[in-house]
Subunit: 362 residues, 2 copies
């Protein structure tokens, strides 16, 4: 039985079925969340851990938090980050205390970006980009890892709760730098609970699940601390335009960055793996192989907000009434609007950085 609901299914569903099974995730249950956002409604958010407790907190207006991190290595984000922000926005609008940490220590240790440069990039680009994508700057608590002594001071205690073998089982390898980075993430994830225990949700791509598992393992071993096990939700990757599972900068022709020059983006979309048939005649007769079409997938995930509009496109394309060229035209138009809005949003947000709320440390 397929557990993942993808109303406008893509060919990659089976990969995600396997992930849910292998990682022991819960399939995402749309009914648990009022006014679900676009990526929830469309099965892009496909799984989670302990999502019931967050649903309950939303419905009963109990305290809970949503937390995510910014890793400032260059002035670009990708569609995965966009989905994280959309989910943060969802929980923020549904009552969550919101925490965004800037992982400047991790950027320094794993990418060689100095703390100063990481800070500057976060303020100049990443935070404005998050605001452009819908984060409410006035309702968000920011901190820099390098300034959060409470996180650092707890890292030691958390580190003791896990053996090397267990760490290797979760991460595959266990170099000292990776261990320190991972356990710092555990402390970040639990940080909002240091003052007051409450449920929390961490929206991530599924490649970040090891941190969630590690945190949950450690919390289970500190029963006396009464931390809530952090909940998580997972979104699918935005697939590479060539049809593989995940957009990656290693294949620049199949990867769109945010922001990116719109002409460059349009070229990539025009060359993307299409579900259109070889001839127009065949296309009209058989319709598009929609689950293979990366442009439709991109529209579903990111470029068409309204479900009815998406459904109309889906039916027209699937039936062969709409050609692959026409689909790409709509995609390009919507992408241009998105990229304009995004760039303008960043400009606008930069003017409001004075409203940034940083966590105060002693």
């Amino acid at each position: 039985m397929k557990k993942i609901i993808d109303p406008w299914g893509s060919g990659l569903v089976e990969d995600y079925e396997k992930i849910v099974k292998d990682f022991g995730l819960e399939a995402f249950n749309l009914k648990l969340f009022p006014e679900p956002n676009r990526i929830m409604r469309r099965g892009v958010v496909f799984a989670g851990r302990d999502i019931g407790i967050i649903s309950d907190a939303i419905r009963k207006k109990k305290k809970f938090y949503v937390l995510s991190g910014i890793m400032p290595t260059n002035e670009k984000i990708h569609f995965g980050t966009k989905m994280v922000v959309e989910n943060i926005k969802y929980f923020q609008e549904h009552g969550a205390e919101t925490y965004i940490l800037v992982a400047d220590l991790e950027a320094a240790s794993t990418r060689g970006v100095s703390l100063e440069k990481a800070r500057k990039m976060a303020l100049d680009f990443h935070i404005p980009a998050y605001v452009a994508l819908g984060l409410d700057i006035r309702k968000t608590n920011f901190y820099f890892q390098s300034e959060n002594k409470e996180v650092m001071n707890n890292v030691y205690e958390f580190a003791k709760k896990i053996t090397l073998n267990e760490f290797e089982a979760i991460y595959g390898n266990a170099d000292p730098g990776r261990i320190m980075g991972a356990i710092t993430q555990v402390a970040d994830i639990l940080y909002p609970q240091f003052k007051e225990r409450m449920p929390g949700i961490i929206p991530v791509g599924v490649d970040q699940d090891p941190h969630i598992r590690l945190t949950r393992d450690i919390v289970r071993r500190m029963k006396e601390k009464n931390f809530f096990l952090p909940s998580s939700i997972y979104h699918k990757y935005t697939p590479s335009l060539d049809g593989s599972l995940k957009m990656s900068k290693s294949k620049p022709e199949s990867c769109i960055e945010l922001p990116e020059d719109i002409n460059s983006v349009k070229k990539k979309i025009n060359r993307a793996l299409s579900g259109g048939r070889d001839t127009l005649e065949e296309h009209r007769k058989l319709g598009a192989v929609i689950e293979k079409d990366m442009v439709f997938e991109l529209m579903k995930q990111h470029l068409v907000e309204d479900d009815k509009e998406l459904d109309k496109i889906y039916k027209a394309y699937k039936s062969g009434k709409m050609t692959s060229g026409e689909l790409k035209e709509i995609a390009n138009k919507n992408m241009e609007k998105f990229m304009d809005d995004f760039n303008n949003g960043i400009e606008r947000a930069r003017k409001h950085l004075g409203s940034l709320k940083f966590v105060k440390f002693k």
Copy 2:
């Protein structure tokens, strides 16, 4: 060829010869240091790493530092700590910038002592005890690990420079808690060089050498940072009163703590492994087996400051003129004076905590 000079030799010398060889240490060269202290003169300080550069700094009045840590787990220290403080005092008096860190994070993570309790113990007992043993409070820079963001922020970068296998080769095991603790020690050891590169000396017991090796390995891999390789000197253990290599709380009858009730201490000394002969007649004829005598070793290491006085006792005891009982009597008398001075010194130092200089952090 024996490299370790122990002018009033003990039976444990061969163990230390082996340590020097196995660890690749330099034998301690007394001639390199002006006005050597008691434990240097007596071969108790037996080895080091890169001690030439420190000798050079002393003679040429160049900048260098001495650094050590306090791990506040209970209100006791042992003779090993006493020797560390005596060596700190030596380098402090010979021009070293002095840094003492309170390893409150490590106490918390490895011994479950809360940061607050660790801080209180350090201020109530350990720092006064160090002052009682000769540390100049006005010339010493103190900090608490949990407050030193600069150390924390560098831990990540240092962690990247070592692989898990290398870590295991140095420490024997590599649990995450141990890795974090060890790499924090690396950052502590280098901390005085963050602002200005200079040689530094870390006086330790030989069981602490893994931290020195790890630090030196990491520094060698960061050539572009131009850190000086930290130097170290090693003192022998104060042997257990039953004749084994090291006093240990696991054998309380053979272990003296500082402070400890003097009557309890005297009982232990009276029962200690002796080099005296079975009968008085035999003793007068053959003299004491001095290298087996733990009371003489204790006097040599800790209870007789003046070399001539020690030499007189040595000759009298070795020749059989002095009995084991007479030796113990002197030891007990000197121990009582030491313990009184130590306790009074702590009391006095507590009144001067206002002069403590804490490193200022931004």
